[in-house]
Amino acid sequence: MLSQDIEQRAALYEALSSYYAGNISAGETFIRLANAYLQSELVLPPKEDDVGFDFNRLFVGPQKLLAPPYESSYLSPHRMTMTRQTMSVRQAYRAVGIEIADKGRIPDDHLHYEAAFAACLLRSLSPSPQADGQSDIAAHYAAFLRDHLLCWIFPHLEHVAAHSTTPFCRQVGKAAQLFFTSEKEALS
């Protein structure tokens, strides 16, 4: 049933969004949800003390980020955020009449926001596809995946796989890889 499918995917996006916002235990939830949704058997690694340090080294800093969580870092000519690529993400949010509540602090194309946006669109789908605006929401969702998330998430996850030093961060990346592969297949 699609409703369950949408519910599961929305929950996956939400967990991923929360993980990338710095809530590391959400990574655990994400792996569990991915296993349930994809019927995979990814092992849930223990959360060692170093997971937070590894997470920061990959996504936060203070040194050069090993796996920057920004779309623009992969699609902009100079890795810069807040340039044309980030603005196109902002426009995608604006196209459905929303913007980031804390706008201007973290670039709009951070994976935390992009995943939250995907979840927000999925959650807003009515059980009845004939309801007003439903096709628009679905179209926005598909367009956002096609034009944004799926364009950079795989190179990003390659960086995660290459540079993470803890099994936990690596496993979250692997779960994300499986999930987005599934999303890409569905889209194509």
Partner: protein, 359 residues
Amino acid sequence: MNSPHSFSRRTFLKGSLAAVISAGIGSSLTLDKTPFRPAAAEASEQVFQSACPRNCYDSCSILSTVKDGVLKYVEGNPANTYTHGRLCAKGFSYTRSIYSPDRIKYPMRQVGRSSGKWERISWDEAFDIIAKQILSIKEEYGSTLPICLNKYSGNFNLLNYCVEGMMSSIGHTTRATGTPCWPAGIDAQTFDFGTIWNNDPEDLVNSKYLIIWGANPAWCSVHSMYLIEQAQRQGCKVVVIDPTLTQTASKADWYIQIKASTDGALALGMASYILEHDLVDRNWLQQNAKGYEEYFSNICVKTSPLNGRRRRPASRQASSRHWHRNTPRPSPQTSGSDTGCSAIQTAVRTSAASTRSLP
């Protein structure tokens, strides 16, 4: 009856791509527990005036264009008569500094010095750690003097100076004084003019003879270079003294390549020449200068031959570029290295290749 979820996920995604995308569905979105809010009207483009605080001589006047809270680009302010609407490469790249993905966005604490293990902390936590450390030092030493403020160049903006007020507010603290980069400039200006006082940089255009000593404005003060070239077009002779054939030196009318660290010797030689040829305005000196007789005596001592050897007077060596070109370089045995006089022999290099005539 068709179930609302009877079509497959693939159909849903593929079909939705063909749908017409339109705005105005925000009201139907559920924004609870999301980082989003209904979009406000897009702000119009604004232009702000600012100045580059990097401590370059130019302090460029900058116009920053901001749209929807995003710095789109920076450009020089054409109304500024010194910078003429131009910035240097560093200035133009300001957007890259602030929007680098690697920019630090949160307070962070390293767990174990040099461990490379960083954790995010809140601002309150950061303030708390610092405040407790200050109080702990005060308690241990009975004063806040062990706390030292050491700062310098790179970003001479308002905050750079506010930090001194903040440090003063906690009590007596230690301050690093002096300067890592321009004591020679301070001394030169103070001895020459009595204080650190410059004429208007735009006055460069009115120069008739310009000596650029150990500076490369073509790279390091691009707006000065514009004025230097303008002066040159008006007949000013530009002399560059530098161990390196810089971009500025390449544009000079006369390039004097000295060995590094022999500036003092060359300066003494020049002073000696002025003295020997009585090119000194003694009336002016009597009215305006202090200690010049002592200085003249010192020049005579510094530039006189040592150990009974007869040497060419330093003044002539310094003044004649043909001397070095037409005369074999003195051997180390005869040149010595401990006086300004002898240093001049090896210091002044005025090769034909590095000299060009006035246009």
